[in-house]
Amino acid sequence: MNLTPVLTDTWDKDHSWRLATYEGAGGYAGLKKALTMEPADLVQAVKDSGLRGRGGAGFPTGMKWGFLPPPDGGPRYLVVNADESEPGTCKDIPLMLASPQHLIEGVAITSYAIGCDHAFIYVRGEVLHVYRRLLNAVEEAYEAGYLGKNIQGSGFDLDVTVHAGAGAYICGEETALLDSLEGLRGQPRLKPPFPAVAGLYARPTVVNNVESIASVPAIVAKGADWFSSMGTEKSQGHGLFSLSGHVTRPGQYEAPLGITLRELLDLAGGVRAGHELKFWTPGGSSTPIFTQDHLDVPLDYESVGAAGSMLGTRALQIFDESVCVVRAVSRWTDFYAHESCGKCTPCREGTYWLKQVLHRIEAGEGQDSDLDLLLDLCDNILGRAFCALGDGATSPITSSVQLFRAEYQAHIDGHGCPFDPSASALFPYTPKTTSPGAALVGAVGAGTGGHR
């Protein structure tokens, strides 16, 4: 399957982030066309394109827009989720660094389509230069008349505020993001009401991922049929596939949905020289892991789901045979425990205990009953947590115990990790501690259920 550069197409140009570069490549044709259309027709066009949310859940974008209640004269908001933090996910940040105008044009079109006159871009605070580029892109768009009052003489007004977060994975959850944007602790809200009905400031709100919104201009300019000519029947269009880890040429590969990891690895020069694939994530750490048995699974929403995982954010983290799966999963679990917002008990307490059990297994102090204990803990979190963070925390554990149970057991039986941690590194070194998990028990394990 061929690669299809759409969003990435301008990234290799000189000063790719400047408005002039973007306009020179045909940028803002979508907005100009959109402003001649009826908003309802734009919503329909995005529905017809088959675009589904690129932030992980894969919900149809046009349908989400269509959920807004009829205008009541009050404000309606667009909030762009640019809080990219799912481990392994690294697509939106390079997009905004290289070509922020793609996003700004998408924001303008979407705002027009849903009747919004003040849009927000919530970008995580830990990417300083991306924030600079976004602020600058918005400024350039105002000066060129793509934002502000009476845009392109259409009578449509739009203000855009770029808002920097302050470090919290949970703010990638859309309702936690809204609370954070309102100046509160970023904790998820009970749904319903859904953001479409009562979102930012309790007003109708659309929350969309960066890549979803950035995909809109080309859909408008080139047509829904053009977009749906790529991809599979139910997973249409192009998407960024992010290869990382033990792969020869890691990076961003923009391809139609439905491409396979085998095809992508061929393009990326294969797994690290002299090594072989052991396990991988199809869509970030919250998606159940795959092995080489899944190399030919089409990377679309349905096929990955049918194979027991989720397409997620197309964050393909590649781990070769040098990596201890217990170490990998234990570290992800540290992450979920650290990032649990503390609002609900299953996630707050559950991730804490998952961490304790995994640390002792990794340190060689595990007991024979620990694997069943882990699975029991997962069973008490999955579907019982307030939001998807808790569910995500269980995915790497349940999937890895299923696929690599013997490796867990070897840590318990052998009273330690059988792997040399330095073998997985890209450079030679002598480990200062033989069992990283053991060293972490005291250092990081001190925190309790709260976010910090």
């Binding site: 982030w17 009905v197 049929d225 000519s229 033990h246 961003q252 990283p436």
Partner: protein
């Protein structure tokens, strides 16, 4: 919606009867900046996160005075401000070094060498996680995934990218920082600014350096490069459509199925319109 005016009206020179200990000039400058922040939002309370970044740009951390200042500007209690300040990891509760050096030790970076880099830096600097060197130059941190996995292992200095690091490059970087020399990120501005300067940018006051640095590093362009070499492009707009638009019946607004930002948990979730809200199983 909340009131659009802060309950404590700022007056010239700062809030009336301030409990902060800022001198008059500092308070006046902070008040002007905080007012500008609040004006960006329909509800001034939305300005709290940038306002806390602003406080850090003056004090180098979220100080007692900073908390009181935010509370007075927004007409909320100091406890309400503290609740927010303690939730987010970028807000520091004790004076930060001039540079935050963050080593990604989330799984992928860790196994690729992040663990070794952190251990080496920790030994080299004589500090652990969230500790600051005696000279006040560096606060060392373990950080979570920073969305640069294709550049692993990654080190961030004041949240600028230092890609593809090793223990040697990281310790050399730290040495330069302690000597007060300029360091240039792989993808970012031409040099790293101080923690306080960074905090001011994050408060929404840009420093005019957006045009510095590259647009993309090599991994970012990996796929595009292959497409260029092989003459691959996306189909042109005239290409005949092969896909069909989805026949769909939208769920009722607000009903289960009308929101999507969560991970599917069962195969049924991946079918359009059949997903349920998070936590529904708990009932």
């Amino acid at each position: 919606m909340r009131a659009t005016e802060p309950a404590t009206k700022p007056v010239e020179g700062g809030p009336v009867e301030t409990r902060t200990r800022y001198d008059a000039d500092t308070l006046a400058a902070l008040t002007a900046d905080a007012t500008a922040i609040m004006e960006r939002y329909p509800d001034p309370r939305s300005g709290l996160l940038p306002m806390l970044h602003l406080v850090q740009s003056v004090d180098g951390y979220v100080s007692r005075d900073g908390i009181l200042f935010c509370a007075e500007m927004l007409g909320i209690t100091a406890a309400e401000v503290s609740a927010v300040a303690t939730f987010y990891t970028q807000y520091k509760r004790h004076p930060n070094g001039t540079y935050t050096v963050g080593v990604c030790t989330n799984t992928l970076c860790a196994v690729m060498g992040g663990d070794a880099i952190f251990d080496e830096l920790s030994d080299h600097l004589g500090v652990g996680h969230d500790e600051t060197t005696d000279d006040g130059a560096i606060t060392l941190e373990r950080i979570e995934c920073n969305a640069a996995c294709d550049y692993a292992p990654v080190v961030m200095v004041n949240w600028e990218f230092f890609d593809n690091q090793t223990p040697e490059t990281a310790t050399a970087l730290a040495d330069k920082l302690r000597l007060g020399e300029d360091v240039a990120p792989t993808r970012g501005a031409a040099s790293v600014c101080s923690f306080k300067q960074m905090s001011r940018i994050l408060a929404g006051f840009p420093d005019g350096r957006a045009d510095e640095g590259v647009g993309a590093g090599e991994p970012t362009l990996a796929g595009l490069k292959i497409a260029r070499e092989r003459g691959w492009t996306a189909p042109d707009a005239e290409a005949p459509a092969t896909g069909e638009s989805q026949a769909e019946v939208p769920p009722v607004t607000g009903a289960p199925g009308s929101s999507a930002q969560r991970q599917p948990t069962t195969p049924a979730d991946t079918e359009v319109g059949k997903d349920k809200k998070p936590g529904e199983d708990a009932k």
